[in-house]
């Protein structure tokens, strides 16, 4: 079997996870444990498809680039809206973060099911309904990648969203680690009272980080929806990628730079069953457990090591209210 092909599939599988976990890292660094990320990913994906669909059906000769921009904007708008709802409930109204997040995920799955099931059937949507947009997403930025051998297949056969994910991960890492804004954000997630006393606007940081994180996670759904599945949404096949992205955050101990490697590893583990010969349907399911198993092992080892830097932000999941004592 072509090893380079397997690895390039692992990278493709890893991309939604990379977007999702990168978004969740930004959320958690601000102290918001956003369990709505899986829902936001689904909604972001569905919104992108819908945008592209409406555009391609309303013009005679759809332009791929315009379709790309329309779907991107739709996805961002939808993720942003859900993130704002989450922020308003948890930051402004100080509602329980877990309950709020789960509600958003349930909403997102419902939206995905409704669109992917009933609507898609009625409208007769196939995996070739937005050909121009899908082609624009898939166009490799390095056209001569097939001349680069295995490296070309693994890393350069992907569309622009592969590079975007890497850029976002790098920028997130740089901002968190090296800039004043990043320091303030980390302080907000660790100890909002201290950040507040130091003159940092805790509410603003939480809103911005959470909304930005939500939008990034939504891009993961968008990649899956258009690039990976060609514009035909099926919540069943999207499966637990959203939760996997949340688990990945723990796996990479809240570091966006590690998330790149972690995502591709998880991507490989996620599809490992396809490439291992002689599996029955029962043993396949065992293989699917691998990413979760690895996460549990990491969780146990980091807890045992007790290294403070590898623990979740201290105020993760807690609302902040200045006048409480």
């Amino acid at each position: 079997m072509d090893f380079a092909y397997i690895l390039s599939r692992a990278v493709a599988q890893g991309l939604p996870l990379l977007y999702g976990s990168n978004g969740e890292i930004l959320n958690e660094k601000s102290g918001n444990l956003n369990l709505g990320i899986p829902g936001i990913m689904i909604s972001g994906g569905v919104a992108g498809i819908v945008g592209a669909l409406i555009y391609e059906n309303s013009v005679a000769e759809p332009n791929g680039m315009v379709g790309l921009i329309v779907s991107l904007l739709c996805s961002v708008a939808c993720s942003l809206l859900l993130s704002l709802i989450y922020c308003f409930l948890t930051v402004t109204l100080r509602a329980n973060q877990n309950v709020t997040g789960l509600a958003i995920t349930i909403f997102g799955s419902g939206l995905g099911n409704f669109y992917g099931g009933a609507i898609s059937t009625i409208l007769g949507i196939t995996n070739n309904s937005i050909p121009a947009t899908a082609a624009a997403y898939k166009m490799p930025l390095v056209p001569f990648y097939d001349k680069l051998g295995a490296i070309g297949t693994i890393f350069f056969s992907h569309g622009f969203m592969f590079y975007l994910a890497l850029i976002i991960a790098f920028v997130s890492w740089y901002v968190l680690k090296k800039t004043r804004t990043g320091l303030s954000l980390r302080a907000v997630g660790e100890n909002p009272a201290t950040a507040d006393a130091a003159g940092i606007n805790v509410t603003r940081y939480k809103y911005v980080a959470t909304c930005l994180g939500g939008v990034i996670a939504g891009l993961g759904g968008l990649y899956y929806a258009i690039d990976y599945s060609n514009g035909l949404w099926d919540t069943q096949s999207f499966g637990d990628r959203g939760w996997l992205a949340v688990a990945l955050v723990i796996f990479v101990v809240w570091k966006p730079n590690l998330a790149v490697l972690g995502a591709f590893l998880f991507g490989g583990l996620y599809i490992a069953e396809i490439f291992v010969p002689g599996l029955t349907s029962a043993t396949k399911e065992l293989f699917k457990m691998l990413p979760y198993l690895v996460t549990i092992v990491i969780l146990i080892t980091t807890s045992l090591m007790k290294k403070k830097e590898n623990q979740p932000p201290e105020s993760l999941g807690l609302p902040y209210f200045r006048e409480e004592r």
Binding site: R180, L183, R186, A187, N191, A195, A198, G199, Q311, R322
Partner: protein
Amino acid sequence: MSEAAIELRNITKRFGSVTANKNISMTVNKGEILSILGENGSGKTTLMNMLSGIYHPDEGQIFVSGREASIQSPKDAFEYKIGMIHQHFKLVDILTVTENVILGLKGEGKLSIKKSAAKIKEICDMYGFEIDPMKKIYEMSVSEKQTVEIIKVIYRGAEILILDEPTAVLTPKETENLFGILRNMRDAGKSIIIITHKLNEVLSLSDKVAVLRKGEYIGTVETKDATEQSLTEMMVGKKVSLNIERAEPHDCEKRLSLTNVSVTNKEGVQILKNVSFTAKSGEILGIAGIAGSGQKELLEAIAGLQHLKSGSIIYYDPKTGKEENLRDKTPLQIRDLGVRLSFVPEDRLGMGLVGSMGITDNMMLRSYKGGKGMFLHRKDPKDLADRIIKDLEVVTPGTDTPVRKLSGGNIQKVLVGREIAASPTVLMAAYPVRGLDINSSYTIYNLLNAQKEGGTAVIFVGEDLDVLIELCDRILVICHGQISGIVDGKKATKEGIGMLMTNLPEKTQEEEDAQ
């Protein structure tokens, strides 16, 4: 020299129906240390929080360097060059000193840690701090963390420093260091406001003392004209006797005897080494020592919370006359024998009380097993809670108010009150007056004395040597986990105990064994 740095005019602050500060006016000059003195809950911290922007006054004006200031947020306070060091440190544990210091400051987007670290080093050299700018906060001791807080406000260019009970968690040596630094800063022209309960500190450090009582401003006096007695009277509003009545111990019987107790901690370091002593009923046995010499572990060993490496703890049961070895018993069994630990740790809520529960429910933590059936019986604990509130003058809106909303001193009274209420045969109290004002402290001393009169063996771990000498019948001095001497409270001198606290006479151990 006597230029006003801060002037408060007719400041009033209300929380709902409670008036925390009423019509307060005071002045702090440049190059001056002002102490603010008052009982627990007299509004000292509230007043200072208005200067640091956490609260906003309902009425009145604040003048900074002669100009009226409107301080709406901590950020505004920095702009007026006011820096406050809170009782609970505001530091992010996983960040380094430098990162904490520059947190929230404006500047280039990219961090230049090295440059900031160098500037911190400069400040350290100027005032005599000893700290590594790249050390993480979670690796630091309490006094180091406090130093970081002070560096933080100086780095921000503060001219006016407010310290809220800075010495409550420091050892005497660390306190002396801090005072040295504060004096340096005063000489450099900064103004310092310090909130404290400890009268000796007020007298040795400050230039002026302002006294608050129940939210009202009583007056400011020059420290050189004040005495402990006069300040206490201003604070309490009535004459109080600062002498502890020490009755002669009577009907002393052996109650608890420890033989060669050794304890090692998780890292394998020996905390207690061959500790042997006897506690008798009807007397107060004081334990003196530098903080961290093993006092906490000793009490925990008796209460069954520490595993003994060797040695035995024999308890003489007054009811049955039997001898029980506490070493084999669980903490619950030990408690049922009447051995009570009222431990007041650095973190008052960490051990003993549940912050989000009311006083009644906290009483029930000790008695919930006693009731019949599956339902809780609230009446007795409620009565007990009411009694403690009345006897110990706990200031609280009611028995159902979560205890974390009470002030530190009141929380302590609740804790000590509950342990005493169980009429123990052995009562262990560690730092029961830490953070308490003078009046509450004496209430606690009187309670301990009453327990002693009633035939309880009281073990009292204290930090104020004057109090130990006045209160205790015998004083056991501990040094590096070993007993360096047991002295008679009536004959002891501060100097003698101080010597024992720091030096371990080589002969002591043999003498102990010989006895």
